[in-house]
Symmetry: C2
Subunit: 346 residues, 2 copies
């Protein structure tokens, strides 16, 4: 355990370093601390902190910089948890428009608001109900040989796609197929629907059309969209600003990561229902070893839980960012609840 003074020193180093980006030396530190001690004393204390692995030097006579362990200690013990900037809260509350017609809009706009506020890169996931079921497929003929296929889930998610009807197929056949599919699959969990679509459904559809693959592909496609498109990324390009590493290959790899939703889901999954902070190599992906990730769930009661996350440099203003995330999760939950109530529970 650290002494009071060591805490103060570590905290001052963290603050100063995130402000300036420069390693912090004993002399500057002496002017910063509330208790007046000489630089020599501070040097002794810093030697102790370094021994514990909380701070480190870039070279033998440079100032000190917080290590991953130091940031961790800072976040765990030295943060004023409750200090959320009032103006940030105001911005958050005013930033949501009022005319939402879709959950996607709210959640995707959230990613943008959050990235504007933090100037980092952000992620938002829609609230997920554990057990979404297929409510049904619809087919809407549009004329011009085109048809729109629409998938609706019992949670109100909608996914659609248009396709052209192959010449060797008539609408009656299609209608029959849709009826068959709905009969067989409505009410089932999406996962199971996907399985069935690939396994026994093709056999049955054979009765109605000779080459069902094209059409079934469409449903397959819509379905996988519906189950994968839960992700929104905000402030993609902010990454350029804080990714110190300007090697184009690294940047391309990073952006590749952002576009592969599956991989991201792993990092973001929060350990608990509070605001989580992952620092540097605590993140499982090696590409992100110089970043910190702040994640939080937001809880929309019976409508499920979603995730918001901020990806920034290890050297980030943790206090402010955590404050923003914390305020944001609440406001987002409030917005969504309001939305659901407005439209569903009348």
């Amino acid at each position: 355990m650290l002494t009071q003074r060591q805490n103060a020193i570590l905290q001052a180093i963290e603050r100063q370093y995130t402000d300036t980006g420069q390693p912090v030396g004993s002399k500057v530190l002496a002017t910063l601390l509330p208790v007046k001690v000489s630089s020599a004393t501070i040097r002794n204390e810093m030697a102790e902190l370094e021994e514990q692995g909380l701070i480190s030097k870039e070279h033998s006579s440079s100032g000190r910089v917080p290590s991953t362990k130091g940031y961790r200690y800072y976040v765990d013990h030295l943060l004023d948890q409750q200090a959320v900037d009032a103006s940030d809260v105001a911005i958050i509350q005013n930033s949501f428009g009022t005319n939402f017609h879709k959950i996607d809009e709210i959640v995707s706009q959230s990613a943008d608001i959050l990235s504007n506020l933090t100037s980092f890169t952000t992620f938002t996931l829609k609230p997920e109900q554990k057990d979404i079921r297929l409510s049904g497929f619809r087919l809407v003929p549009l004329g011009n040989h085109q048809v729109m296929a629409i998938l609706v889930t019992d949670s109100g998610e909608v996914e659609s796609q248009t396709f052209a009807i192959p010449p060797d197929m008539n609408t009656d056949e299609l209608e029959s197929v849709i009826r068959l599919i709905n009969d067989q699959l409505a009410g089932l969990p999406l996962r199971e629907v996907l399985q069935r679509l690939q396994q026994d459904i093709p056999m049955r559809v054979m009765h109605y059309m000779h080459s069902p693959n094209g059409v079934l592909d469409i449903f397959d496609n819509i379905l996988s969209h519906a189950s994968s498109e839960r992700f929104f990324v905000g402030g993609r390009m902010n990454l350029l600003g804080f990714s110190h590493n300007n090697d184009p290959r690294v940047l391309q790899a990073l952006y590749g990561l952002l576009d592969k939703n599956e991989n991201l889901a792993d990092f973001l999954d929060p350990q608990n229902d509070d605001v989580n902070v992952l620092i540097g190599n605590e993140i499982s992906n090696k590409l992100l070893k110089d970043f910190s990730l702040i994640t939080a769930t937001y809880d929309v009661d019976q409508y499920g839980k979603g995730i918001i996350a901020v990806l920034g440099p290890t050297r980030m203003p943790y206090s402010r960012t955590i404050g923003i995330v914390s305020a944001f999760r609440q406001e987002l939950a409030r917005q969504l609840l309001e939305y659901y109530h407005r439209y569903y529970d009348q």
Copy 2:
């Protein structure tokens, strides 16, 4: 006009410089030229070329680099126009899948193929018929208080959006509004539809519902999507590789440009129906002064003309890139014609 030998020298400089990225000196050039002359002679010739503004030095004793004017001359006079790499052509022809159900798919996939092939950033625009008219809006109730609004144009374009029905509105009202809108607007050019939706239609709708704005917003929204979403960008991140300038602010500005479709349309508009090359500051936007842009139209007969474009560094393998673009425009036109024939002219 240049002499035969000066042409050869300019060509050699261009080739060598795009290969190595280094300024080319007289000695190296002497080994490269087919006709054997001494480096001194080449120096004399280069002095002449420099006087004409075709090449330039980075400093008083460096090798020469083609200037914008030099590239222009090279592209206009020294290119083997017909040299399209056979293997590139094969790749292009095999790269299109067969199961397209939407024009958007073909055109957006085109941007990706083209960027893979060139490793630059690419743009594709859908074929545009001059005078697209509104065929009609559809409303599909989805249950769960949700409705999907679908716009169909006479060119077969489809745009859709779901929205939740406000509590104070019943479906009958909606149906009436849709009937009104369709009666009034079907058959009109999209531009005019947009105008009417903002001007006299709101008045008429007032008869059926007290607060029409929310609903009309939706149609407005769908409509502007339909008329703006003609753009696809491929290989966005390739920009990182060849944008020598690693200043994050410049990069952010560039990517900002890619996301604002309107601005892009101006650059891309080709002067004529052939393959066009714009070099460096020939491009109107100053951000792109170190880039070259190769654009071409593709012609799908009565279904309109589209545009494909490649954005790369000024120092680019013009011959190969132009060849690829040229082959690609033909193949893309072929694919789209085939698509249209398959589905429309039965």
